[in-house]
Amino acid sequence: MNRSILSKRATLTALAVTLPAFALSLPPMRSLIAQSMAWHMVIQMPLLVLGGWLSMRAIAHKRPSPWNQYGLTGFFAAQAIVAYWMLPLAIDRAVVLPQADLLKVVTLFACGLLLRHSFERSPALLQLFFVGYTVSMTTWLGIYFATTELRLCNVYSMEGQTEAGHGIVLLGLALGCAWLLSTIQRVQAQQRSRFA
């Protein structure tokens, strides 16, 4: 009884994040990501991943997966997806070509699904490795976007690029902090249950 209420709330939360993230790729909201690199990279892309993450949490099946032991496969796949969508040329394509944008929506949502699936199956040490890598990659990319003289995306202005760069740095740091906090909480909860 309690469990079904919980999963209903989880489903609603997942929908509340996923639907706006999808809507940003459809008119009339599409103009936001077409005109602003920050809306595209700092808001829509993370929302898509978060939507996938929350959706997998709502599905909440915890059976062991032989293809994703310790969450390794999911981590590699998620890393590859994120690396691809950090390429300036991929960002251009997503704005110019609707089919590329569809690919972006599907793969980043899948990235979130995979990440959640993997996090549930991986020890904190492995998580640290992947989170650490992602945070450093994101922060470096953000600093580069914010400081380079080169205009990286043909579809966005220099100003928009600097703005997005700052946003990406903040996003990377927030991601690291969120992981750290949740890990500390989990360890504390484990210790409490062990000594109780």
């Binding site: 005109q35 909440a60 915890k62 062991p64 032989p66 293809w67 994703n68 032991q69 310790y70 969450g71 390794l72 496969t73 590699f76 796949a77 890393q79 590859a80 997806i81 690396a83 691809y84 390429l87 300036p88 040329l89 991929a90 251009d92 394509r93 110019v96 549930e120 199956r121 991986s122 020890p123 080169l150 205009r151 990286l152 995306c153 043909n154 579809v155 966005y156 202005s157 220099m158 100003e159 989990r186 909860a189 484990q190 249950s193």
Partner: protein, 222 residues
């Protein structure tokens, strides 16, 4: 819920499952690297602009024909203009209202103009500025621009499109993307485009790489 999950992660994995995961991970990594390798043209460029330049350097691109408008109000086709004097053109894209990157492009063109005259290359290389804002840039705007930038007609011509509907086709044929910028302006991937007398785009260089552009133009002439 969380406690359940941590129990899973701590349970020992069966060896055959580890093998499956290892295989799947390697597969996923290879596919990911392959896709990125392909998308970046074998790692040669991470931006659309870099790929555009590599593609053109590898294989010249045929530019379609356009009806141009010059500062006397005369209409003439691009192909005819290029073929007429058999010179290589260094082409840039501008809009006359522009005060940011185009004005630096303008000063780059002033320097290029001076260098061509100094080296006496005007029989081989010339400069062509094409407006991508034909709705605003008519013959009068071109005359104004020519006066402001001190165009030497033997070396540097500024033209607009005779038909505003050709604008997108022109930009697409060169691979220029124009986005609105603050204060009603535009921003675009500014560069120097080397186009030979047969209307083939043979090279694209940075817009401040004067010598490189001149060398490429002279090489295309030979």
């Amino acid at each position: 819920m969380d406690r359940n999950s941590s129990r899973h992660s701590e349970s020992a994995a069966r060896p055959e499952d580890l093998l499956k995961t290892f295989g799947a991970s390697v597969f996923v990594l290879l596919v990911g690297l392959g896709v990125i390798f392909d998308a970046t043209d074998r790692g040669s460029g991470f931006t659309t602009e870099a790929l555009r330049r590599t593609e053109v350097a590898r294989e010249p691109r045929q530019i379609p024909n356009f009806l141009l408008l010059d500062l006397d109000g005369k209409k003439d086709s691009l192909r005819r203009r290029l073929a007429a004097d058999n010179r290589v053109r260094i082409i840039d894209f501008i809009y006359m209202r522009c005060r940011s990157v185009c004005s630096s492009l303008g000063s780059v063109y002033q320097q290029l103009q001076q260098r061509i005259l100094e080296r006496g290359l005007q029989g081989q290389v010339s400069l062509l500025s094409i407006s991508f804002d034909p709705a605003h840039d008519d013959a009068a705007a071109l005359q104004d621009y020519a006066a402001r930038m001190r165009l030497s007609p033997a070396v540097w011509e500024a033209v607009s499109l005779a038909s505003a509907s050709d604008r997108q086709r022109l930009l697409d044929s060169f691979g220029i993307m124009v986005v609105p910028a603050p204060m009603g302006g535009f921003e675009h991937n500014a560069a120097l485009h080397i186009v030979d007398a047969r209307a083939r785009l043979v090279r694209i260089t940075d817009y401040d790489a004067l010598d490189q552009a001149l060398d490429a133009a002279l090489a295309a002439k030979r």
